[in-house]
Symmetry: C2
Subunit: 231 residues, 2 copies
């Protein structure tokens, strides 16, 4: 059986942007899989203990970590299933989209929602998360969130390349979704299930696209309750 080790908070909240990228990639390929929930403090207990991050995919006798590596593995191992990249040029450019999302978007968002993420974790994870993130960012989670409504405008600006692209084509992958869509989907899903912060305003082209992504694969993304309603 295919198993995806998937970050989980309290109440089995699945919020990791990187894990969502991998789950959507598995669905895109039409592959059956089970998720194995793991808290932050359980990552080092996965399999042989060599993994420092999730997702980790067990596929037959292979173990693959890192969402991009998982997508590459799926593309290579299941070439007859729908493509995740649309050719070698798509693989190369997906790296760019990944690096853009990680450095220009996710890195800015995490500071604004770190306190919200903390609120979704198990008590054991909360202690780990607070200590490690406050050290990394040099401020308390609560201080990071202060005045975040003003800072969210910078994130909307950072999203400009995606917005402009989605004004020209329905998905980042073109007429239909590819892994590039799942990269950014992971980001907005992460915010959706942990926080009531409105990163993308209603009416934004990105909001329209995100709703379409939430509908994919029988609404897998939508099946995870949004933080705004769960609170």
């Amino acid at each position: 059986m295919r198993i995806l080790h998937d970050l989980a908070g309290a109440g089995d909240c699945r919020f990791s942007p990187h894990c969502w990228r991998a789950k959507m990639a598995l669905m895109h390929k039409g592959l059956e899989f089970e998720t194995s929930p793991v808290p932050f403090t359980g990552i080092l207990k996965i399999l042989d203990g060599s993994h420092k991050t999730v997702p980790v995919l067990e596929d037959d006798n292979m173990v693959v970590s890192d969402s991009f590596q998982i997508a590459l593995h799926l593309e290579e191992a299941y070439p007859d299933r729908p493509t995740l990249f649309g050719g070698p040029g798509g693989v190369a450019a997906a790296r760019f989209v990944e690096q853009w999302a990680n450095t220009m978007v996710n890195a800015a968002i995490v500071k604004l929602i770190a306190a919200d993420i903390h609120g979704r974790l198990t008590p054991e994870d909360q202690a780990y998360f607070r200590e490690s993130r406050e050290r990394r960012f040099g401020a308390s989670l609560e201080a990071l969130a202060q005045g975040r409504e003003a800072k969210v405008e910078n994130i909307r600006t950072a999203l400009t390349p995606a917005r402009r692209t989605l004004e020209m084509q329905p998905f980042l992958g073109g007429e239909g979704p590819l892994f590039t869509d799942y990269i950014l989907f992971g980001t907005l899903q992460w915010v959706r299930v942990t926080s009531d912060l409105e990163i993308v305003e209603t009416g934004d082209t990105i909001a329209r696209w995100f709703e379409a992504c939430l509908d994919l694969y029988d609404g897998l993304g939508r099946s995870m309750e949004p933080a705004g309603q769960a609170a």
Copy 2:
């Protein structure tokens, strides 16, 4: 004969980032072409006068404008030549790279080098350029350039996704250059031939990649003298 209408300044300086994208795409396809130099104030005199921007490519009986459309045309018209996109996923993601370069990089750079660009133009173009750009940006070209050494740091940050990608693979297109590379090449070449502003520091991975791009196609890019030396 294939003719590319190519923006030209005084002394036949060819600096347009969009025209460089198109020229590199033509070279990539191994196609012979001549360039027809045109000043800003001559664009409306090209062919039937319907074109408001360059590049404009005349290829057989077809006329194509906009560098991305030109690349798409070349990919479709010359499928047996080396691919510019590496498949449909590459086309879709190249749109993202284009929008990123246009909105997050070029839009910031132009303010810092507008006075330098002005210095490279013919007298007639200078009057047009100063008036139109000062109106667009709401400041004099000289005011825009003030303190630009501090502002260039924002551009280096905006280039992070390209830097990270080029730390993982030799070109944005992967092992070799694709149109995505020519998109960003156009940007740095534009700066190189108009300004002595150092957008990318020596030692930056992007500088290494840019030198490799300048060497492509018998050094076509390098054949245009840099502003730092020409001044």
